[in-house]
């Protein structure tokens, strides 16, 4: 069946479900329509579902598709792929039933997916001639972070679980920074071709490494001392390193093509979020949770939508240019992020409606639209008749 022919297909298809599910309880709680279902605090639940639920599914779809094409190995398909999707769903089910199920069972259901994903990607990696080891290494750290989240929650280790969410999000940003080194040459090249400009792409690996390393350091710092000044300075350093990278996307008129501008905007969100977190931690009157949303809701979700759209089209045999519909979901998410980041600072009294409910609705609309528009390609065979 076509759906199980390549990793991105099932994961990108169920991803909107996970994305919407991860925000559903928030408006209910903030508007006072119902209480928390017991279990963990709502903020912790939401953070985990966004980072280790939504983003993990996006990562799985990306890695299962990108790694085989980088290493020239056979992709994971069929039954192993079905098993992976089932594990991911088991984790989401566990979190929805949190409170009803014992915490250790929720942990058990959720903690299996990332190690399993790592295990399925390893054979391809080990057999490859050129090993893109950075992303699997980061994936291993991410799996460890999720495991530590549960251990901390169960009280087996002395580590507040929310710190693992901060570190997990930083790890995702780091993976984005690493993966951009592979993605940007393709997108920049296609954008230059589309506008008829001279096709020349020059990326400095040093910029990418600085951007990744500062984010890795931030993950460590947020684990040790999330509200300490050292963390604040590292966050500011990371913000500057991301800003430094944006210059690679300054390619004149071609920058306005979606495959470049979306990444540019995602980077801008990253700069805002990292800079905001840094300043807030160093004592500026900024809402640090709002700033983390600039990272998760702004930077990460923006990148996820851009990458999902590009991967879906390219790997179903449809080349650039990207259809105009690509803009819709990022626009809605961008608006949601602007509200979630801006309202706590400008109109804190309107938080329940404009800071939580409206962004949640926009978020849901974005992923409903994306699912509706792209599902047909995810479930249909490749346009060029090739396998995959």
């Amino acid at each position: 069946m076509t759906l199980w022919a390549y990793g991105f297909r099932p994961f990108f298809l169920i991803l909107p479900v996970g994305a919407i599910a991860a925000v559903l309880p928030l408006p209910v709680l903030w508007l006072g329509l119902g209480g928390s279902g017991g279990g963990m605090p709502a903020g912790l639940w939401h953070g985990h579902e966004q980072v280790f639920g939504f983003l993990s599914a996006a990562l799985a779809g990306f890695l299962l598709t990108a790694l085989p094409s980088w290493t020239n190995t056979r992709p994971v398909t069929g039954t192993p792929l079905k098993a992976l999707v089932a594990l991911w769903l088991a984790g989401r089910l566990g979190f929805w039933l949190d409170g009803a199920l014992p915490s250790w069972l929720v942990a058990g259901l959720d903690a299996m997916f990332l190690p399993a994903l790592l295990a399925t990607t390893l054979p391809a990696l080990l057999g490859a001639e050129r090993k893109p080891w950075e992303l699997p290494a980061a994936l291993a750290l991410l799996a460890g972070a999720n495991a530590a989240f549960h251990l901390g929650r169960l009280g087996l280790i002395d580590l507040p679980p929310e710190r693992l969410l901060y570190a997990g999000l930083d790890l995702f940003l780091m993976m984005i920074a690493i993966a951009s080194g592979r993605i940007l040459p393709v997108t920049l090249r296609s954008a230059l071709t589309e506008t008829g400009a001279a096709v020349m792409v020059r990326l400095a690996p040093g910029r990418r490494h600085l951007a990744s390393v500062t984010l890795g350091l931030l993950a460590i710092a947020e684990l040790i001392q999330p509200h300490g000044p050292v963390t604040g300075w590292i966050a500011l350093a990371a913000a500057c390193a991301q800003a430094d990278r944006m210059t690679e996307m300054h390619i004149g008129r071609s920058m306005l093509r979606p495959q470049v501008l979306l990444f540019h905007l995602a980077h801008a969100w990253m700069v805002v979020g990292l800079g905001g977190v840094g300043l807030a931690v160093l004592g500026a009157p900024l809402d640090v949770t709002a700033m983390r949303h600039a990272l998760g809701l702004g930077a990460a979700a923006f990148t996820v939508l851009a990458v999902m759209s590009i991967v879906t089209l390219r790997h179903t045999g449809r080349a650039f240019p990207l259809p105009g519909a690509t803009w819709v979901a990022p626009a809605l998410v961008g608006l949601a992020a602007a509200l979630r980041v801006g309202v706590p600072h400008l109109a804190p009294q309107a938080m329940a409606t404009w800071g939580v409910t409206v962004p949640a609705v926009l978020w849901a609309a974005a992923f409903l639209f994306w699912g509706w528009r792209f599902a047909r390609w995810l479930t249909a065979p490749r346009a060029d008749g090739q396998p995959g």
């Binding site: 980088w70 592979r182 020349m200 990371a238 500057c240 800003a243 210059t247």
Partner: protein, 273 residues
């Protein structure tokens, strides 16, 4: 119009490059903050306290006059060193006899520690700005001398002969052949000399009490006020960074146009996902 736009874009590109430098400096600040957390304010005050202290001192009108004083001392010495070192170096490069005469003296001067010059200058000139400028002159002139001598010695004689046979006017010859060549040797020497002159200035000021940033540091030392001392250090560093990135680096880039890669090379083919 088109050229002006290109220049503006290049300037923007250069300023955007500041983010990378800022990232590096902020990581250093994080390390500084960690050192503060480990050893306390007396050993290493926190970055924020230091900035606050610098801010307070600036508001009290102490910092700007000190920076101007230090700049005057440093630039006075540096400009004299440029003139003296440049002329003597040029002579040494052009004439073998002058090279035999001057090279050992320059080597000798380079070998004398700057701190020894401070002591001698204090004895000769007293605790004044002149003592500071003299120290800067005597420590940086040999560096400029070496650069100028090297540049003058390696001037291409056949280029000169070719220019003469094509009847190239002397002004063109100097502007388009000699000057770029000399600058490519002289400029690194000047940049090193300028950077050195600030450090020597602050040191000489500290010992002579002739005012400026060094004097401020001396007072902070007497009062065992680490925060103020760090604030003064921050002022020097700020000054150095401003000179480096706003003055030297743009000039360096302008001079090294010929080193830049030609357009069309360096395209990255890797990638794909």
């Amino acid at each position: 119009m088109e050229e002006g736009r290109g220049r503006a874009l290049r300037a923007l590109d250069y300023m955007w490059g500041g983010w990378g430098a800022a990232s590096s400096l902020l990581l250093l600040t994080a390390l500084w903050e960690a050192g503060h957390a480990a050893y306390g304010t007396l050993v290493l005050p926190s970055p924020r306290d230091t900035v606050a202290s610098l801010w307070d001192m600036s508001a009290a009108g102490k910092v700007l006059p000190a920076i101007l004083e230090t700049s005057r001392n440093a630039l006075g010495g540096f400009l004299s060193a440029t003139v003296a070192g440049g002329i003597l170096g040029g002579m040494a490069g052009a004439s073998d006899m002058m090279r035999r005469l001057l090279q050992p003296i320059a080597t000798l001067l380079l070998g004398i520690p700057a701190i020894a010059w401070v002591v001698l200058a204090l004895l000769w000139f007293g605790g004044t700005g002149a003592a500071v400028s003299f120290t800067v002159l005597i420590t940086t002139a040999p560096i400029v001398f070496a650069g100028a001598a090297q540049g003058a010695r390696t001037l291409d004689g056949s280029l000169r002969r070719m220019a003469r046979s094509f009847r190239v006017p002397a002004t063109t010859l100097i502007r388009d052949v000699y000057l770029p060549h000399m600058l490519s040797y002289l400029f690194p020497a000047l940049a090193t000399g300028l950077a050195l002159s600030w450090k020597v200035t602050v040191m000489a000021e500290l010992l002579s009490g002739a005012g400026g940033i060094g004097d401020g540091l001396a007072v902070a030392r007497v009062q065992v006020d680490t925060v103020k001392a760090m604030a003064w250090v921050l002022a020097v560093v700020g000054l150095l960074l401003a000179v480096e990135y706003l003055m030297l680096e743009p000039i360096r880039r302008h001079l090294q146009v010929w080193r830049r890669e030609m357009p069309g090379s360096g395209d990255i083919q890797a990638g794909g996902f």
